[in-house]
Symmetry: C2
Subunit: 438 residues, 2 copies
C-alpha cells in the first residue's frame, strides 16, 4: 500500500486562514461517558475489596492470573537481571540517558527546591520549608506502547527530589515483561514494582490495598481508563497533568536542511494518528522543499501509515509573512515541543512565551530531548503550556509556610489583623489576635 | 439559647483511639450529582451564548439585572472610591496587610521564580525559562461570606509573579457591593473587575465572552457550584486547589495560656460548622484547662452557635503519650494550619513534615497569618498538604525547558537517543537523531 503525507498548506495571508487554522488546532478532550462509569465502578470496587479486586481485574483485562498480589511484585533481583540481560549498547544508552536526566534535575532542584526564610524588622520569622513527598506511584504503560524512557523521566525527578519510596506499576498483558522497562526501573531507582495496570492499578495506589502501599501522588501516562481514573482520584492523591496527543511546532527560517525538518515532523507524527506536526515558515520555497523531503522519506518509514494519517488529518505547513508573525502564532498554539530551527535561535527565543520545551538551533532535534538531553519529556499538551510546566522535581516536593511571630511583631500585626477580622465579621479571629496584645 | 462546646476527648492510649480518631477525621468531598449536572448546563450555555447567558444567570441567581455586561464592570474609579470611603483604620489595615503579603511573595519569587541554565562539557545549553501567565481570573465570593483578605491573597502573588492582567469577578446579589472587597481590589493591583459570580462567572473566564476576557488560570474560593465549575473547566484553563472545610491543629506542650489556645480553636470553628479544630497535648491537666476556657469564652462569641456545632461534631482534644507522638499524629493528619504552641517550637518543627502553614510559638496565632503576617492564607486542606502547597507566586508562573544542543553534543546524544528510540520501535525519532551525526 502506498502512502502520501500532505499536511495542510496554509498561508497567514489567506482570507480563510483563521478558519482553517482553528479547524487544524481543534482537539477535544471530552471523554467517553461509558469509560467514566466503568472507571468509577473499578475504583469503588478496589476501595472496598483491595487486593482481591485488583487480582480479579488483572486477570480479566491483562490475562495475567496470580494466586496473590505479592506474586505480581517485580523483585529488585528481577529488575537487575533484566538490566544485565540487555545488549551492552542498550545498557550504556540507558545509563547515559539516566545520568543526563539526573544532572538536569539536580540543577533544577538547586534552582527551585530549597527552603528559605527571612526575619522582618520585629524579629518575626517568615519563610517556606520545602520537603519531598513521602511516597509516589508511577504508572508505566505496558503492551505495545512500552516506553522505558518514561520510567526514567518519571522516577528520576522523584528520586532527585528525595522521595524515599517510588512504587512503579506496569501492566504485563499475558505476563509478557519488557526487559528494557524493567532495566530502566533498575537504573532509575524505583523502590518496588508490581505488574498491574489500568484503573485498578490507579485505584490500588490511591487507596492502598493489603499489598500495594497507598501513595501521595500518581504520575505517568496511560490509556483513557488510566486518565479517567487519575482524574477521579485527584484530591485523595496528587496527580500530574492529563496528556492529550503529542505535538511539535517547527519554527523555521529556511536555513536547516529540509530533510532534517521533515524527519522531525515525522518523529512526532509517528506517535499516533492524533499527533500534530506543524511547520511555520516565512519562505514558500523552503516549505516546498520540506514537502519534497516528506514525499521522499515517507516510504522508508516503518510507521508510514500512522505518519501519513497524522500529517494528512492534523499536520500543517504554514506560510507566514515573517518570523515575527511565526512567533506570534506559536504563542497562540502554546505547543508541547517547539523547535526554533534557525541560524539565530536566540533572536527569537525571548519572544516565545508559551511552550513545554524549546529546542534551539538545527542540531537540537526533539528526539534528543525525548531521550537523553536531560530535560523532562513529560510536557504540557493541547495549549496547556499557557499555564503549566514540564514534569519536574517541584512536582515531587511540597511547601509549608513557616511563621514565627515575635512578641514585638504580635503587637503590630495583632492590631491590623483585628481590624480586618472585625471587618469580615470573624470575632474569634480578632480576639485571638487581641489576646496577644499587651 | 445556650451553647456548649465539647470537642471529643480522646487519648492515644485508649484501645478505641484508632477508630474514634478515624471517625473524627472523616470528611468526604463527594459532590452532589444534581450540582454537577446543573453546572455542566451553565458551562455549555455560556460557551455557546457568551455575554447573554452570563447576564441571564446573573439576573436569575444574583437578582442583579443589567442591560449589558459592560454595566457589570467595576471601574478603577469605583474601586478607588471604595478605598477612599473606608474609615482610616480599615484603610491602613488593608494597606499594611497588602504591604506584608507583597514582601513575602517577593521573597518567594526570588527564592523560586528565576530562570536558570547551564552548559555541559560539549557546550550544550540546558535550562528552564520561568515566565508569568498572561492573564488570570480571580473568583471572590460575595454576599455573606465576603472576604477582602482573599482578594489580597489571590491578587498579590499574581501581581508579584508579573501577570499583566488580573481579572476579578465578584457576585453582588441584588447589586450590593462590599466596599472592603472593592478597596482590596484597588490596593492589590486588580486590572479589571466584574460583578458576576457562580458557575456562569467561571464559564465566562474559562471560555471568554464578548466582554469578559478569556483567562489562562482561575483561582479563588467559592461555593459548591463554583468548585464544580472550576473542576470542569480544568484543562481548558488552570485552576488552584479545590478547598475543603478549614482546619487547625494545635500541638501544645502546656506552656501557652489556655485561653489563647481556646480562642485559636474558636477562630477556626467560627468559619463554618464543618470546620475542624484539634488539640494534641501530652498534659491532661492542660487539656482540662483549655476545656474550661472554652466554656468560659463561648458565651461571649457572636458566632457561638457555629463554634459549638463545629467543636461538638468535628473537634477533638487528644491526650498523647508525649510530644513525639503528637508530632507523628500531626503528620498523619497533614493539617491546613498547624500551631506549635510550645516554649521550644524549633525542637519540634523539623519532625513536622506535612502542613499547609506552620505557626511557631505562642505569639503566632493563626489569625495573624490569615490576614497580615505575609504568607498566603490559601492552603491545602483535607490532608492534601501531603502533596500540595500554599498558593504562591509559583502558581502564577510556568516553566519552559530550554535545550540548545551543540554540534559536538549532537554526536554523543544522537547515538544514545537512536539506541533507545529503536528499542521503543520509534524509527522516526532514531532517524532524526542520526541525521545530525556527521
Amino acid at each position: 500500500m502506498e502512502f502520501v503525507a500532505a499536511p495542510a498548506r496554509l498561508s497567514t495571508a489567506d482570507a480563510t486562514f483563521e478558519h482553517d487554522f482553528a479547524q487544524r488546532l481543534h482537539w477535544s478532550a471530552d471523554t467517553d461517558a461509558a469509560i467514566e462509569q466503568r472507571v468509577a465502578d473499578i475504583l469503588a470496587d478496589v476501595q472496598k475489596r483491595g487486593d482481591a479486586a485488583v487480582l480479579e481485574y488483572t486477570a480479566r483485562f491483562d490475562a495475567l492470573t496470580a494466586e496473590s498480589m505479592i506474586a505480581l511484585e517485580l523483585t529488585k533481583e528481577e529488575l537487575k537481571a533484566a538490566f544485565d540481560s540487555l545488549p551492552a549498547e542498550q545498557r550504556e544508552a540507558l545509563e547515559s540517558a539516566a545520568r543526563r536526566v539526573r544532572s538536569y534535575h539536580e540543577a533544577q532542584k538547586k534552582a527551585n527546591g530549597e527552603s528559605w526564610s527571612y526575619r522582618d524588622e520585629d524579629g518575626t520569622l517568615l519563610g517556606q520549608k520545602v520537603t519531598p513527598l513521602d511516597r509516589v506511584g508511577i504508572y508505566v504503560p505496558g503492551g505495545k506502547a512500552a516506553y522505558p524512557s518514561s520510567v526514567l523521566m518519571n522516577a528520576i525527578p522523584a528520586h532527585v527530589a528525595g522521595v524515599p519510596e517510588i512504587i512503579m506499576v506496569v501492566p504485563t498483558p499475558k505476563g509478557e515483561k519488557n526487559p528494557l522497562v524493567l532495566a530502566a526501573a533498575y537504573v532509575a531507582g524505583v523502590t518496588r514494582a508490581f505488574t498491574i495496570g489500568g484503573a485498578q492499578a490507579v485505584a490500588a495506589l490511591a487507596y492502598g490495598t493489603a499489598t500495594i502501599p497507598k501513595v501521595d501522588k500518581i504520575t505517568g501516562p496511560g490509556n483513557a481508563y488510566v486518565a479517567s481514573a487519575k482524574k477521579r482520584v485527584f484530591g485523595i492523591v496528587g496527580i500530574d497533568m492529563i496528556a492529550g496527543p503529542s505535538e511539535i511546532l517547527v519554527l523555521a527560517d529556511g536555513t536547516t536542511p529540509p530533510d532534517w525538518v521533515a524527519m522531525d515532523l515525522f518523529s512526532q507524527a509517528e506517535h499516533d494518528e492524533l499527533a500534530q506536526s506543524i511547520l511555520l515558515c516565512p519562505d514558500a520555497a523552503y516549505i516546498d522543499a520540506v514537502q519534497r523531503e516528506i514525499d521522499r522519506l515517507l516510504p522508508e518509514m516503518p510507521r508510514k501509515a500512522i505518519i501519513a494519517k497524522s500529517l494528512n488529518d492534523r499536520g500543517a505547513l504554514i506560510l507566514t509573512r515573517d518570523m515575527e508573525e511565526a512567533c506570534a502564532i506559536s504563542n497562540r498554539i502554546a505547543p508541547e515541543h517547539l523547535e526554533v530551527s534557525s541560524r539565530d535561535p536566540h533572536r527569537w527565543e525571548p519572544s516565545l512565551k508559551h511552550a513545554g520545551a524549546i529546542f534551539l538551533g538545527a542540531y537540537t532535534s526533539e528526539s534528543l530531548g525525548d531521550y537523553c538531553a536531560g530535560p523532562n519529556h513529560v510536557l504540557p499538551t493541547s495549549g496547556t503550556a499557557r499555564f503549566s510546566s514540564p514534569l519536574g522535581v517541584y512536582d515531587f516536593q511540597k511547601r509549608s509556610s513557616i511563621i514565627e511571630v515575635s512578641e514585638a511583631g504580635a503587637q503590630v500585626l495583632g492590631k491590623t489583623a483585628a481590624v480586618l477580622a472585625y471587618g469580615e465579621g470573624l470575632q474569634g479571629h480578632a480576639r485571638a489576635a487581641e489576646m496577644r496584645l499587651k
